[in-house]
Structure formats: structure tokens, C-alpha cells
Symmetry: C2
Subunit: 465 residues, 2 copies
């Protein structure tokens, strides 16, 4: 049934409005400007037409099947709307308004329970209440109150947040750095679609290769763990969990209606089922990007290649801090590198390519030698825009070919002023090589690929060949 929420053939917007001060207007604009190709039915008895679309007084008066209803009315009216949706045979609903379970001090539970009853009666799946909505970039569906989400690139990361704020924080960053998503949504109060339901749905979603979740607290951690056990062998999950401290717990209760709980328990649970943990929003989306692009590593021995020594040290240190091992190159690799790299620089991991900066071919040979080394499981590369014009040569093709030839995961820091290396980034990313604006993020990305490999091998007995 979740299929109809993400791929509806027709949508009713209850509470649609032409008043730009109303959320019912924002959702309508999101759908229209987002380029949604299905039927849009604004519902509002005050209008005959809304933004050039015929409006209806109620869901039941729409002369067509309705797959999805977006509900933007005060909480007192939601149950009645849902009754109508039920009679109409609507399959899914997005309930944007707040005032339900999270408003436990203000009768929120009453409204929550009534809504739960009616949606159960009709078998309607609900995203929310207390959500900004749902975005499916592969279907040009922006059923949210923020039209700007339509600008995001279609890609293969599914972002499922307990709070819409996190999606709104990640969105501008993702736009700046061209990160692509399959689905973006907040599940808010999780009336009957919670993390487990979303994970099971995304497991079979062809557009999704990695799943990023933002968790404040869950009611039944065991259900989440069971779902994760079904999903993780096939698709990686990264989590950013908030609510590790006392005060934040209270905040969570009055937010999406759940106690954030003891972080130690979550930490143990996540480790047990192999959910990879990130420490902030940017790490969350960076790791998810690496995992959407690249295969897991077969071991934890990482090679660090950088244009200059400082970033090489930062890459190496970040990898070691995350628990990776700097690979000890084979004698053969060391000899090959010594033949190519001029003396006076670091060379045997980290490898400093500074003196070969203008010689793309030689840099490429070094990269090839490193990828071919059987003592290397994963490669992280750091390039920074330096010097003048196109003096500096980034061996982009060699990186792509090496990755293809050896199947070893790789992540690349590509730090450059707007414009100058966009074409390099594009070529790398079109060939599934993830790029990052800092060395620290590139290192954490490669860690996530090593960690996912470890999880698959050790927790799920998956052979990575």
C-alpha cells in the first residue's frame, strides 16, 4: 500500500488554498511546480478553481479514483476527512498538521487515537501526522509543503527522518553539492507507518540503494531491529540518532511523541543489527551517498592517496580514528611507486602525489599500482584545486578504470572553487565514484564502506568474493 503514497496516480489535497499564507497553498504549489504528472484534485468547498485546477467540495465528490490524500486541515477535522477518504477507497494519506500524540498535554492522545481507529477501519496508510510531507524524486512527486524540495537531484539515497527539520537542513547542502535522492520524507508521529514499515518498503524500492534515517526515539526498538535484519543484507542503513542527553529526551516527547531513550541502548541495538552510525546531518548524507554509489569493502586496509601531504595526514588520521588500518603496501607496490614518485615525499601510505601534480598519467600509474595491491581493500583520494589554470591534472579516468577493474571501494575529496572542477566531479559521479568537499568526509565515507563490508561478512555471513 505504501506504493500508492510514493507513486499515486491521483492526489486529493484537502485544505488546498490560493492564499500563500496557508500551507494548503504551499502543498499545491509543490505538486504543480514539482511537475507531478498524475491528476491533482484540490479539495476546498470555498473554491471552484484553484491555481487553474478544478476544485471539489469534498474527497467523495471527486469523479475519479484517488490514490493519495494530503490532509492540511485543523486536527479537529482530520478524522472526518479520513472517514470520507475511507469511503472513497483512498489508499494512503499524508497528514501534515500537528496536535496529535506529540501534544500530549493538550488532548493530543485523543486525536491520535481517533485517527488511528478510522485509518485502521479503512486500511489507510498514513505518513504523519506532524510531517512536512513526502518527496519521490523519480516520480517528480513533491507532496510536501516546501516546493524547494523539487530542485533536488533524483538519485539513490532514501532519506527517512522522524523530523522534517532534518530534511530541510540537508536539502540546501545536497543542492550545493549535487547529492541525489530517491525519496525524502518525514514520518513524524508515525501513526501506522514507522521506521520498520519504511525500511521494508525501501528494501524492494528499485530507486533506493542506501537508506539514511534520522531517529529521535522509537516505541518498539525490537521491530526496528527486526526490519533492519531483513534490509541490511541487501541495502545499507545509516542512522543519525539524536536524544542522547537528558533534556533532549523531554524535547522529543513534546515533538514527535516518543521518548528518545537511553542512547547506549540504541547504540548497542544499531551495532547488533549492523546499522551504521553517523554523528551529524552532513555525515549522515555523506555516508549514505558513498553507500549508494560504491560496493562494500572486503577488508579494513585502506590506502590513502593525496595531492599534498597535509590532507594525506588528515585522511590517514581520520581513517585510523574510525578504526581502519592503513594498508602496508606490498614490496612490489612500493617498488613501482618508488620508480614513479620523485624522492622527498611520503609515498608508502599515505602517498603524496604533489610532485606529479601536473603529470596526470604518472599520477594515474601510482593510483593503478595502489589499487592492484592485494594488501589494499579500499582507497581514499584527496585532491584540492591548486595552482593556476589546468596545470593540475586529476587522473579521473584512471580512478574510474581502477575501481571498475578491481571492485574496491573508493571515495574522493574534490575541493574546488565553484565551477573549475564541476566537469571532473560530474564524470566521477556519473561513474559511481562519490566525491566530497573535505578530506574528513571522504575518509568517513570510505569508513562506512568498510564498515558495511564488515557487517555483511561478520553479521550476515555474506561472502564478498
Amino acid at each position: 500500500m505504501l506504493h500508492y503514497i510514493f507513486n499515486p496516480r491521483s492526489i486529493a489535497i484537502v485544505g488546498a488554498s490560493e492564499n500563500p499564507l496557508k500551507m494548503g497553498n504551499h502543498v499545491l504549489v509543490s505538486l504543480i511546480e514539482g511537475g507531478y504528472a498524475g491528476k491533482i484534485y484540490p479539495v476546498n468547498p470555498k473554491y471552484d478553481y484553484l491555481l487553474n485546477l478544478k476544485a471539489y467540495p469534498s474527497v467523495e465528490t471527486i469523479p475519479d479514483q484517488v490514490d493519495l490524500t494530503v490532509v492540511i486541515v485543523p486536527r479537529e477535522q482530520v478524522v472526518q476527512v479520513m472517514e470520507e477518504c475511507g469511503r472513497k477507497g483512498v489508499k494512503g494519506a499524508i497528514v501534515i498538521g500537528a496536535g496529535f500524540r506529540e501534544a500530549y498535554l493538550c488532548d493530543g492522545d485523543k486525536y491520535h487515537n481517533e485517527l488511528a481507529k478510522v485509518t485502521k477501519k479503512y486500511g489507510i496508510k498514513v505518513i504523519g501526522p506532524n510531517t512536512f510531507g513526502v518527496v519521490n524524486l523519480h516520480a517528480s512527486l513533491n507532496a510536501s509543503f516546501t516546493p524547494a524540495f523539487s530542485k533536488l537531484k533524483a538519485g539513490n539515497i532514501a532519506l527517512v527522518a522522524q523530523s522534517g527539520g532534518v530534511c530541510h537542513t540537508i536539502m540546501p547542502y545536497a543542492l550545493k553539492y549535487g547529492i541525489g535522492f530517491s525519496k525524502v520524507l518525514s514520518i513524524g508521529n508515525r501513526l501506522n507507518v514507522d521506521f520498520p514499515e519504511m525500511l521494508d518498503y525501501l528494501l524492494t524500492d528499485e530507486d533506493t540503494r542506501s537508506i539514511a534515517i534520522y531517529v529521535e526515539g522509537v516505541d518498539d526498538p525490537r521491530r526496528l531491529m527486526d526490519a533492519a535484519r531483513r534490509v541490511v543484507p541487501h541495502k545499507p542503513i545509516v542512522v543519525y540518532k539524536v536524544g542522547r542527553f537528558s533534556k533532549a529526551d523531554v524535547a522529543s516527547l513534546s515533538h514527535t511523541g516518543s521518548l528518545a531513550g537511553d542512547y547506549m541502548l540504541y547504540d548497542a541495538a544499531f551495532r547488533q543489527v549492523g546499522i551504521i552510525q553517523a554523528d551529524d546531518c552532513i555525515e549522515l548524507v555523506s555516508m549514505a551517498k558513498a553507500l549508494a554509489y560504491q560496493p562494500p569493502a572486503r577488508g579494513n586496509r585502506v590506502a590513502v592517496i593525496s595531492l599534498t601531504a597535509g590532507p594525506g595526514m588528515i585522511l590517514a588520521e581520520t581513517c585510523e580514528r574510525m578504526g581502519l588500518k592503513l594498508a602496508e603496501f606490498s614490496y612490489k607496490t612500493k617498488s613501482r611507486i618508488d620508480e614513479i614518485v620523485p624522492p622527498m615525499t611520503m609515498r608508502h601510505n599515505p602517498v603524496d602525489l604533489g610532485l606529479l601534480a601536473a603529470e596526470g598519467e604518472k599520477s594515474g600509474e601510482v593510483i593503478k599500482a595502489v589499487f592492484e595491491d592485494e594488501c589494499v581493500d579500499a582507497v581514499v583520494i584527496g585532491y584540492l584545486y591548486s595552482w593556476y589554470g589546468d596545470f593540475l591534472k586529476v587522473p579521473v579516468q584512471e580512478v574510474i578504470e581502477c575501481h571498475k577493474a578491481h571492485g574496491k571501494p573508493v571515495s574522493v575529496c574534490l575541493a574546488y572553487p565553484e565551477g573549475v572542477w564541476d566537469h571532473l566531479m560530474k564524470t566521477l559521479e556519473e561513474n559511481s565514484i562519490p566525491t566530497f568537499p573535505t578530506n574528513e568526509l571522504a575518509a568517513k565515507a570510505i569508513w562506512s564502506l568498510v564498515e558495511y563490508g564488515r557487517i555483511l561478512r561478520h553479521k550476515y555471513g555474506v561472502s564478498l568474493g
Copy 2:
């Protein structure tokens, strides 16, 4: 004497070239395109003119006083060039080439010692060797091999790195987010200008309000500590220290010629003198930005105000994790907030302004109440671009006025797609309110302001009123 390196009236570029494959070309382009207003004297016996500038066969043949020489020649020739500079009365030099102390396996020490001798003989201050150069944005001076540094905004952060790579990583990020600098440089091998000399210089530099340093390892930590003790009471120092792990130590030795050393010792030393520590490049520059803009806090009780609850939790949790206390609002403040904020949201720290999103004036009243509370020492605010058009009102003027009226530090997360809130960010930053693209960075920024206040009060006996 360092004054002449950052504000030279005339510059000789030894090894200048018209060949875009040579660094001597890149430096010349940097100076010209950067808009340097002083005299530029290319030195290269092969040319009469270089990029329309008259070229000279040697430094001594320049018919003018030379304040600064940029040296881009092989290490074998550096000593001779420096002899000439000495006879000519040159006051400072930037030695870009490598192969000195860091190349300890390849006679590097020999070249280092010879260079040390000649520069001591003539009293020439040297940035480098093994540096990308020096940028003084207030003097339109880009004496580096990367012309793109001229695009940076002039501001009040001095960035002093042991490795130029870190400056090259931060530069694109700073361009994207409009972060301004006074000076940007790598001190490389630190022949006779090391961190202590730079700190003392920046202490009296009127364009510098905060100092960000990237450290791999130092030869004489006590000198650094002594310099920090002189500087920190007047200007905050933030450090990003790399070299905490074994392998990275070896890397550092073959990089800028120093053992990175035991991180625990550095950690203790930094704490002892009140140098604030960052965990990556972006944190380094974010904290330095906050410290350049805002006064230190008088205590550690922080108020969290956000547009929506999730980001409020992230802000609160990040603050608590860094050791801050969430302020317990006074009864008066709570009552004032209760009068303005509709029920059903978090309100007594964190404060969730979601239901007032479209009401800038009311949001401003809440912000005012929070700033006025005597139980609040610092304020962090999180706003995310949401909804459609200009429905959402960010109470920018109120934030500016409150900060001015109460002198309490404030940092703001302003996450928005390119363009839509540039004017808000500009207004805030022109009024010394630092903005950040994520809640985590805004929280870490406010932590740095609280931490600096603690350092001033507890370590240096400074009264903050």
C-alpha cells in the same frame, strides 16, 4: 619585520616564468590578478618582460628597494638567491620550494642549515620553505601559487596552517559560504617564522580578530604555549591538530619536518593556555568565524531557539555534548513565552517557533524575552528555509537588536537553497551575527564563544562585566 611580508611595498619574484606549467608563472598571475597595488619585479635572466612587467636578471639589478622576495627556484639555488636578497636589503622572503628539512632522507637538513645560516646573517624573515605562500586579503596581496585565493572575502580570521593543503580545502568552502579572512598562509617548514612568531604578529594585526591554526607538530611546544599566553587574553586561538595516531607521525616527519607527537600532550598544553580545539577543517573555520564576530559569553547557560523541534533537539544535544548547560528560563520568561507561543510545542528551552513561522513580530518577541533572561548567557538559533515564497519570516532585525542590547553572543543556523535567503544572511553578518549552514556547526560555534569566555575568566582573570 613580518609586517613587510604581509604589507610589502615591492615584491621580487625569483623564478618568475611565462610558462603556465611553472609555479613561477602561477605566483606572478596570483599577484597580478589579485590586484596587488605595489611594485612587482619578476626576476629571471631569460626574459626582458614577463606578463607586461619588466623582468630583471637578479634581485640586485632591481633599481628599487625590495621588501619581499618570493623564491621559486630549485633548492640548490635558494641560498644564492638569499645571499643576493641579503645584500639588497630585502626584509622578508617566501620560499615555496620543497626539499629541505622535510626531505630528511635526501640531504634536506643540509639545505635547511645553509638557508638558516644565510637568512640569520642578513636578518631575513622566511615563510617556508615548503609553503604555498601568503595571502593578505586586506592588502589585495596574493603571494601564493594559487590565484583562486584572491576570490576570498576580506574578513577578520587569520588562518595559519602548517600545511597549505588545509588552506586549499578551506578556501572553496569559505567561498561557498562567504567566510572572510585577514591573512591566509602556510608556514611550512618554519625556518625562522613558526607559530609563536605568527601569533605575536597577529596579536597586533588590526585586521585580525580570531586566529585559526592547523598544527601537525611543533619543535618547541613551550614557545607556542608562551606565545598563546600573550595572545589569548586579547584574541582567541582555535586549533585543529593532526597527528594523533602512530602512522600519521611518520607522515608528518616526511612532510613539514616535525614529529606530530603525542596528541595527549598537545591536548593538555592547548587546554592549559586556553587554545580552543576543533575536530576538522570546517569546525576550525566555523569556530574562528564565530570568535571573529562575537563577544565571549559570560557563562555556560545557553538558550536554544529553533523554527522546528527536530533542529531544536539537534542544537540542544550538540550543546550539551560539548559541555554547555541548557538555561533554565526564569519564571518571568516562561510566562512571556507562554503568552506568545501557541500551545502544543516545546517552549522552555529549546523553544520551538514553528507555529509562529509566518509571524516575524511574535517570533521576535520570543527571542527578545529569551535574550533578556538573566539566566541566559548565550543564544543559538536555527532557521531552515521551508514552505513557499516569503511565508516564513525570520526575525533578523530582532536578533541584531537583542544582541546589541545585551551583548550576549549568538550564532544562527541559516540553511537555505542558493539565493533565497542571501539577503538575510548578509544583513546578519554585516551586523556581526555569524551564520552557519547546519545546526551542529551553529551549536559548536556558540560553544566556542562560551569556551573563550571561560578561558578569559578562569585562566586569565579577565572580567567580562
